[in-house]
């Protein structure tokens, strides 16, 4: 069986289990995120699993931006709602997103420096 097909099977099976577990236990985590955590554990335990998933997973991640396009086009369907509140939405989204990234990155870097937690592998 071609390697790509078995890679897809692994990803879908993990996602399937993630969705089922997330619903059974009514967890706040979505199925795919649970599946991501489970797959990390799986990869740590099995080199074979890692080798199976690697080609498909790399392909999907290289094209991750593409997958957001269909939802993004939805903005066109909501154009009248968006323009009715254009100022509030624009200022709120731009202001809060930029602020949150800055606060998050500054917090990380300060805490890392204070605790001597330096990344030995690479620096920007």
């Amino acid at each position: 069986m071609p390697a790509i097909v078995s890679g897809i099977i692994v990803l879908l099976l993990f996602q399937l289990c993630g969705e089922v577990v997330s619903r059974i236990f009514a967890l706040p985590l979505p199925g795919p995120v649970l599946a991501m955590v489970a797959l990390v554990i799986g990869m740590a335990l099995s080199e074979r699993l890692l080798a199976l998933v690697r080609p498909v997973a790399s392909f999907l991640l290289q094209n991750l931006s593409l997958l957001f396009v269909p939802v993004g086009v939805g903005a066109v369907a909501r154009l009248s709602d968006l323009s009715a509140h254009a100022l509030a939405i624009g200022v709120s989204l731009i202001g809060s997103t930029l602020l949150a990234i800055c606060v998050g990155a500054l917090t990380f870097e300060h805490v890392a420096r204070l605790t001597g937690n330096i990344d030995e592998e690479d620096e920007a």
Binding site: P30, M36, V69, V76, S96, A100, E109, E123
Partner: protein
């Protein structure tokens, strides 16, 4: 020759046309992004959305018709999220080592996103329905939609706000953090994933593999935390 209108009505009724259009629009967007040497404002998602949005408006095609074709691309978001296990696994040791800065950056970033988004929108006269749709916008789309429903928001509006948040983050993050002089790829990626979920993570993967891995974790962690924080903060604006 067959009437062109018949051909159009055939194409309109199946997924082929808009699936192809989505891939072509993305190919164009990605070409422009690469030709610009990866300049952040030539964001491939934004460019594709503009091209496709223009096409839908010009042809009078409803979004539902478009989505019948585009759903195949949309579906792959799930398996792609699972695939984030790959960079996470490759960086596991570094992730465990950075647990403390990540936990504090998560709390700070997630809370800032919700409080400032609701505060600014409220000051500018947004009604409660819009605030409820806005509250979970930094979380990844499936989670944000679920939270929005519970809070009394409009789920499809939330999906759009989530995407816009991601694009804003993806465009702004590199010049902004360079200007602040932040050099730790772990923190840069992590904060981007927390504030701008998967679209920000896609951008981080373009910039640096370490940033990409940490962005994936930030996105996953904030998916959980937003579910707890958003309802609490929204209470303040009721």
């Amino acid at each position: 020759m067959t009437d062109p209108l018949l051909i159009w009505s055939y194409l309109e009724s199946g997924p082929l046309l808009w699936l192809t259009a989505t891939l072509v629009a993305y190919w164009i967007g990605d070409r422009i992004f690469r030709l610009s040497n990866g300049k952040p404002w030539f964001n491939p998602v934004l460019l594709s959305v503009i091209v496709l949005g223009g096409l839908l408006l010009a042809t009078g095609t409803p979004y539902e018709t478009y989505f019948e074709g585009a759903q195949f691309v949309h579906f792959m978001l799930g398996p792609a999220t699972v695939s984030l296990a790959l960079p996470l696994h490759a960086n596991l040791r570094r992730v465990r080592k950075a647990a403390l800065p990540m936990a504090l950056a998560l709390l700070a970033g997630s809370r800032t996103a919700v409080v400032s988004a609701l505060g600014l929108a409220w000051l500018l006269g947004a009604d409660f329905g819009l605030l409820a749709s806005l509250a979970p916008k930094s979380a990844t789309a499936p989670v944000a939609i679920g939270i929005s429903e519970k809070l009394g928001g409009d789920p499809s509006m939330t999906a759009v706000l989530v995407l816009m948040t991601g694009m804003i983050g993806a465009i702004a993050v590199t010049p902004m953090l360079n200007a602040l002089g932040l050099r730790d790829w772990r923190g840069r990626g992590f904060a981007t994933g927390v504030a701008a979920h998967g679209v920000g993570t896609a951008r981080a993967l373009q910039v640096h593999p370490t940033a990409g891995a940490f962005a994936g974790i930030g996105m996953g962690m904030n998916a959980v935390l937003t579910g707890l924080i958003a309802p609490l903060v929204l209470q303040l604006f009721r």
